[in-house]
Every structure is written in C-alpha cells, then in structure tokens.
C-alpha cells in the first residue's frame, strides 16, 4: 500500500486510503460488495483490506445489489457503519427499492438512520458501453433523505469519502472511473476530511461561470484555458456534492459573472443543469445577463462504438464553443 507522505497519488489510491484509514479509525466500519475481499475489488480499490481487517469486516457478497444494499441497511440499523460497494454503479438500480424506500426513508419513518456509504465506479469515456458507463446520480438527487457526492480530485475523493463514512446519513459516493488512474493529486499525510455539501471554485473568472463535477470538471478547466486565450475568463466551479447542492457558491459566482454554463456527463434531460437553471432563475434572475446554457451528454443510452461515444459525450471543444457563445451573447 502506497504511503501518503504528501506525495501524488491516483484517484483510485485515494479511495483505498480513505477506506483503509476509516476502517482503522473506527471498528464499526465494514466493507461489503462483489469481489471486494479476496479479489481486492474489480478496480483494486480494496486491495489489501481483507488481509488487514479480516473476513468479518471485508465481506464478499453474492451478485445481488439488492442484497448488498439491504444487508448494509440492516447492518447500519444494528450499529455498524457499512461501506457498500457496487462493482459498477450501473447496477445500483437493482437496489433501487432498497435505497429509496428503506435506506432513504427509514430515519423519517421509524427514526432509524442508516449511516452507510454506497460507492462504486461510475461514468463513461472508457468504451464501457451502456451497462458500464452510467451516471445515475439524479435518481438519487431526486430522493429526499440521501446525500450524493461526486468528487473530481484525489484530495476531494479521500476527504469526502472519509466525511461520508463519518456522516450519519446514507451517502451515495460516485467515483468516476475515467479518473481512477488518469488523475493524480496530492493528499496530506494527516487525517482530514472535506465538508459534504460545499462546492469549490477551481478557477476564478469574471465573464461567465462554468459549473461542473467529476470528469467534466477537468474538461471544463481545459476549455477555460482555451477560452482565456481568447480573452474570456471563465470561473469554474466544482460542485463536488450534488445533494445537498451548494447554492451559495453558485449564486455568488453567477451574481458576479452574470452568465452560467453547466457541464455534466449525465444525459441532458433531468440532469442537474436543469435544477441549477431553475435555482438561478428563482434566486438570481435580476443578475442574469445571458441564457442558462448546458453542455451535456445526449439523451440516449451510452453508445458502445467509440466514435459514437465520443459524439455522445461532452468534450472540451463543445464546452469551449458553448462558453464562447454565452460570453458573446
């Protein structure tokens, strides 16, 4: 296991370190999922955990997401703090009933909180096809009683996963698989968390605000760099948490720049861009000097064919073009 000495680690490594450190810190924290124990996880996010913490705390489950989530929910009622892994987040919808009707509502209905984390690799751009590239975050943003996190850097991934484990609410933690090994970042050696529900400004600007998260955050920064060459200074906000949404940071930025573009890899209809647009109209209408634009994936299942997938996904050029149009409006 790589040491965290303020060195650069991958996004994937950050996840592993977070789980390892939390399980060290609190004996109630357990991990369960498909192939998380012996195999070390499909993406090796739990490599070494079984050896360290034993089979009672690192549990290989049958291939049944509904069972994984249901069991985790029960464990959390019983006093444990489980981390339930979905091997590919696409399959989380097999557990949709468990999550929405039990995990999310138990506290409201029976004063039975579910302090659990549901995490897994999500997102596309890796030629994973329609069953291995999903961005299902909005099903859960739409479900009161949950928290939804979607980080974009190793620092945030580790800090937010730790915060999620420590949070007494059920938390969905999406890890964009495209970023797993492609992104490196520095993390502190000492223990730290990143607050849930707080967005961050990745790049300051004044001509427009680009709001994004996960892999598209990096795409947005790339577009912002290109825009800067044309004299357009974009402010880039990384949401980090989708539910609860950090309205403050968003409003503050748009009140400054007066123009907003939301970029997300999720499909267009029902994506969080619509939510943000509505919030801006409700709370910052008098500050808008341009239409609320969005760059998103198309409203189709994720294509398997690489050129189609490329056409389907947002990219820096699409963001650049949209931002330029918005800036010139």
């Amino acid at each position: 296991m790589a040491e965290a000495n303020g060195t650069q680690i991958t996004f994937l490594e950050a996840i592993k370190q977070a789980m390892f450190e939390e399980m060290e810190r609190d004996p109630a924290v357990v991990l369960l999922g498909e192939d998380v124990g012996v195999y070390g996880g499909a993406f090796k996010t739990s490599e070494g955990l079984l050896e360290r913490f034993g089979w009672e705390r690192v549990i290989d489950t049958p291939i049944s997401e509904s069972a994984i989530i249901g069991a985790a929910c029960g464990m959390s009622y019983a006093g444990l703090r489980p981390i339930a892994e979905l091997q590919f987040i696409d399959f989380i919808v097999c557990a949709f009933n468990q999550i929405t009707n039990f995990v999310a509502k138990g506290h409201y209905l029976w004063n039975a909180p579910a302090p659990m984390v549901m995490r897994g690799p999500s997102g596309g751009g890796v030629h994973g096809g329609p069953f291995h590239s999903a961005n299902p975050e909005m099903y859960f943003v739409h479900t009161p009683g949950l928290k939804v996190i979607y980080p974009s850097t190793p620092y945030d991934a580790k800090g937010l996963l730790k915060a999620a484990v420590r949070d007494n609410n059920p938390v969905l933690f999406f890890e964009h698989k495209f970023l797993y090994r492609r992104i490196k970042g520095e993390v502190p050696t000492e223990d730290y968390t990143v607050p849930i529900g707080k967005a961050t400004v990745r790049r300051e600007g004044k001509h427009l605000t680009i709001i994004s998260y996960a892999a598209m955050m990096h795409t947005s920064l790339e577009a912002a760099a290109a825009l800067a060459k044309e004299g357009i200074e974009a402010e880039v906000i990384d949401l980090r948490t989708l539910l609860p949404l950090d309205e403050e940071t968003i409003l503050e930025s748009v009140r400054k720049t007066n123009r907003c573009l939301v970029v997300h890899e999720d499909t267009k209809t029902g994506g969080i861009a619509g939510e943000i647009a509505a919030i801006l109209c409700e709370k910052a209408f008098g500050d808008l000097d341009g239409p609320l634009m969005r760059v998103t994936a198309l409203d189709t299942p994720v294509p398997y064919s690489p050129p189609l997938e490329e056409y389907f996904l947002p990219n820096a050029k699409k963001v650049f073009d949209a931002a330029k149009e918005l800036a010139r409006y």
Binding site: E230, N258, G286, D287, L288, D289, G290, E325, R328, Y329
Partner: protein
C-alpha cells in the same frame, strides 16, 4: 468576434463548390445552423447552415462563383454588430419630435447619437442607434433591466452591442459610467405647444390664464362617441404614430384655445407670376436653387407683420407678447405627417435668402434631418393648401402664434379691371387669426398689406 464561413467539403472527392444562392444579405441577423447559402457541387446541391449566430458582415464570394473547399465565402460578426441597422422603422417621429418623445434630453453618451439629433444615423459603430428602437421590443436581459430600473435609465436610449443588438451588461455599464441618462418623466398627456416644440421654459408670474397656463397646453383629445359607432362592419385599426398623435393634440388644443376667425381675400399674382417666369431659369442657374412663389408670400407677410406688429405676437395669460424677431414658420407636408420649420429672421432676408432657406428646410424636413431649434420660435405661419388644389383653406393657428396665412391655388381666372374682363393669375388667401388678440380691423388691414405688396411687387429677384 468574427467567424469565417467556408465552402464546405460535401464529399471525399469534392474539392470545390459553387455558390448558387445567398439566403441572407450583409446586415441580416443569422442564427446558428440557420440556412445561410446554397451551393452546387459535382455530387450534390446543398443548403449550408450558418456556423454561428450573429450578423452577416460580409459576403466574399458571390452567387455564381466557384471556389475551392475551405475558401472563406463570408464573415459573420458574432458581436451583434448592427452595421446595417434595420431600415428606418416607419412612422418614426422626425428628429425634432424626439425632444418631447419618451427619449430624454440629449446627454453625454459615449456611443449613442443623441435622440433629438438628426434621423437615426449610422455613426455609432456597431450599436443599434437608440432612436431606432422606439416601438420595438428592447432586447436586454434581466440584469440589464434591473440595472436600468435602479438608475432610472431609459433603455430605449442605450445602444446595444450584444448578440443581435441586445443591450448587454457592458452596454449599460458604459452608459452608467458616462453619467447615466435619466429617463424623462413620461410626457404629459399633452405635449407642449406647437408639435415639434420641446417642453417650453417656465413662464413668468403672469396670472394663470384659463387654458394656456405655464406655457403648456394640457389637452388630451376627447371623443364622446360610443365605441359602437366606430367599430362596425369591416375595419382595420391603424395605431397613430407619435407624430400623428402630437398633431391631433395640437390641433384640438389650438382650436380650443384661440378664437379662430377667418378672413379671405383675393390677390392678383400676375405681376409676381410674370416676374418669376422671366427670372426663374437664370435664378436656378445662378443660385442653384429653384425659385417658387413662396418667398414672395413670405416677404409680403413680413411687410404686413412689420406694419401690424400685433399679428406677430403671442398671448401669455393677459400679456400680449410682441415679438421683435419675425420668424415665419412654413408648413411642410410629409409623407408621414406635417411639420413646420421656421425661417428665422425672415425680415432680414431677400428673396434669394428666403428661397434658399425654404428649400433647405423643406429638404431636410423630408429627410428627417431638421434640428430642434429649426422648428421652434416661429412668430407667424404660412401654409399652402392651394398646392393640393381647391380654392382656399381655413387653416388652424399654430400655437402660440396669433395668425396663419393660408395660400390658395394660383390659377388664371377672369377678373374685372377697369370695367373690362382680364385674365389674371389669381390667388385666394385666408388669414386665420386669434380674435382674443387681433380684431377684424387689424386682420383685414394686415391682409390688405399683404395683397398690396404682392400686387405691386417691386423688389428685384435676381
């Protein structure tokens, strides 16, 4: 930000294309993906969409020309440059009217031509001239509208450089930085006195007279006719232009305020007509301006006004204001209405001077280039309904004058001279006068002086 539009490659082995039709012309607004031009190639004819939104700035390749692929065929200006702003909207109040239109008094503004100036000029680069916008929806944004409301800025006066001429945050910030232009208080339900006159200066402490107080005439035009009498059967509704409304208000007000009385006389214009016939060609050649009958009438009126100063006056409450200058307003018919530019100091000009001034004013009236001061400070008016036929007219006094001379048609008629019948060029003239100030005796003597001057014309023309 300009975008190049290129000849696209329609197929792998196609290397050139011919423009068959431009669907937009320079100055037109285009949306992204809106069809912009049509091409013909070896394999296919196609409609090519615009790569960006903005205004088509320039066409570089014309219809019928063939160019290689990737050649720049046009340029689109994405900054919403309205270099060829939409053709002047019809029924625009002519320049002097703008002074009491919603447009505020001209203030120092960086890019916008003052609304009260000449017709919408294209001088302001890449901005939709503010004066063009009255009557159209103003494109801005919630932010801009809020900023305008907070600072009392009238958006019709702010030039827009955003997409499609929209007023953007930058544009309104520029206006604010230049000191802001406060929106004029909405014009009172009635304009000030003569149609083109801006709000008149505050009056002296003259006791408030009944109808004309503070130099302003407060009249809305009234109609006591039930709607059913107007709206029946087939009809088409045409809203009145600003100018039309002001004319309506002024006419009604003038009729109500002045005690209109009319005197008609007949003038033998034969001498003047023959003088003019003899001189006009050389006049035109020498002075490069056409000689009409009008300067003769103006000079005759001047003679009358000199002899009877009460005709050259205004009424303020119970004070008769005798004007020392003689400024004659001449009614000019426009396609879209009527305006009365003023020949200032008519008593100090000769025929040539008056003719030149008249021609210049009339031309600029028709091309909407009059300045506000050119329709103000008239002391007497002349109108020429005769030019449209008919014997004579009974004109309405242009407030705050007390008289107006209406000219009939000059035509040959049989008249009695020395007990014989002669054919003479005759002209009926009508003097409408305000009986509050002018009595019949003065009016008739004035009219007689005008007649006498014309019938005994002695001044050389050339």
């Amino acid at each position: 930000m300009a975008t190049d539009v290129v000849m696209p490659q329609m197929g792998e082995s196609i290397f050139e294309g011919t423009i068959t039709k431009w669907l937009k012309k320079p100055g037109d607004k285009v949306e992204r993906d809106e069809p912009l031009f049509e091409i013909s190639t070896d394999k296919v004819d196609a409609e090519i969409p615009s790569p960006s939104a903005g205004v088509l700035k320039e066409i570089k390749v014309n219809e019928g020309q063939t160019v290689p692929i990737q050649t720049v065929v046009a340029v689109i200006d994405g900054a919403g440059s309205a270099a060829a702003a939409p053709a002047s909207a019809p029924a625009k109040a002519p320049a002097p009217e703008a002074a009491d239109a919603p447009a505020p008094p001209p203030a120092a503004k960086p890019a916008a031509p003052p609304p009260a100036a000449a017709a919408p000029t294209q001088a302001a680069p890449q901005a939709v001239p503010a004066s063009q916008r009255s009557g159209e929806r103003i494109h801005s944004s919630p932010l801009v509208r809020r900023m305008a409301a907070e600072r009392g800025i009238d958006l019709t006066t702010v030039p827009g450089t955003g997409a499609g001429g929209r007023i953007s945050k930058q544009d309104i910030e520029a206006v604010i930085a230049a000191g802001g232009v406060p929106a004029a208080a909405p014009p009172p339900s009635a304009p000030s006195a003569p149609p083109p006159r801006p709000a008149p200066p505050a009056t002296s402490a003259a006791p408030a007279p009944p109808a004309v107080s503070g130099g302003q005439i407060h009249v809305a035009f009234e109609s006591a006719v039930p709607r059913e009498k107007i709206y029946f059967g087939n009809y088409q509704v045409e809203p009145m232009s600003n100018m039309r409304q002001r004319i309506a208000e002024h006419m009604v007000a003038s009729k109500r305020v002045s005690a209109h009385v009319y005197s008609v006389d007949e003038i033998d214009m034969t001498k003047v007509a023959s003088l003019r016939a003899k001189a006009k060609d050389e006049f035109e050649q020498r002075y490069e301006t056409k000689l009409t009958f009008m300067p003769f009438f103006v000079k005759a009126a001047v003679a009358g006004l000199r002899a009877f100063p009460t005709m050259n006056a205004s009424l303020d409450g119970t004070n008769v204001v005798l004007h020392k200058e003689i400024n004659i307003g001449i009614a000019v018919a426009l396609d879209w209405g009527l305006i009365v530019p003023v020949v200032k100091g008519a008593d100090e000009k000769n025929v040539l001077g008056i003719q030149r001034t008249l021609n210049d004013l009339a031309e600029r009236a028709r091309s909407k280039k009059l300045k506000p001061e050119e329709v103000q400070e008239g002391t007497f008016s002349i109108t020429n309904p005769g030019v449209f036929g008919g014997l004579f007219g009974l004109p309405v006094i242009s407030q705050p004058n007390v008289g107006i001379l209406g000219l009939g048609m000059i035509e040959k008629r049989p008249v009695v001279i020395n007990d014989s019948i002669a054919i003479r060029s005759m002209c009926y003239v009508t003097l409408s006068y305000d009986h509050r100030v002018v009595d019949g005796a003065v009016a008739h003597r004035f009219l007689h002086k005008v007649k006498e001057t014309l019938e005994n014309w002695s001044e050389p023309v050339l």
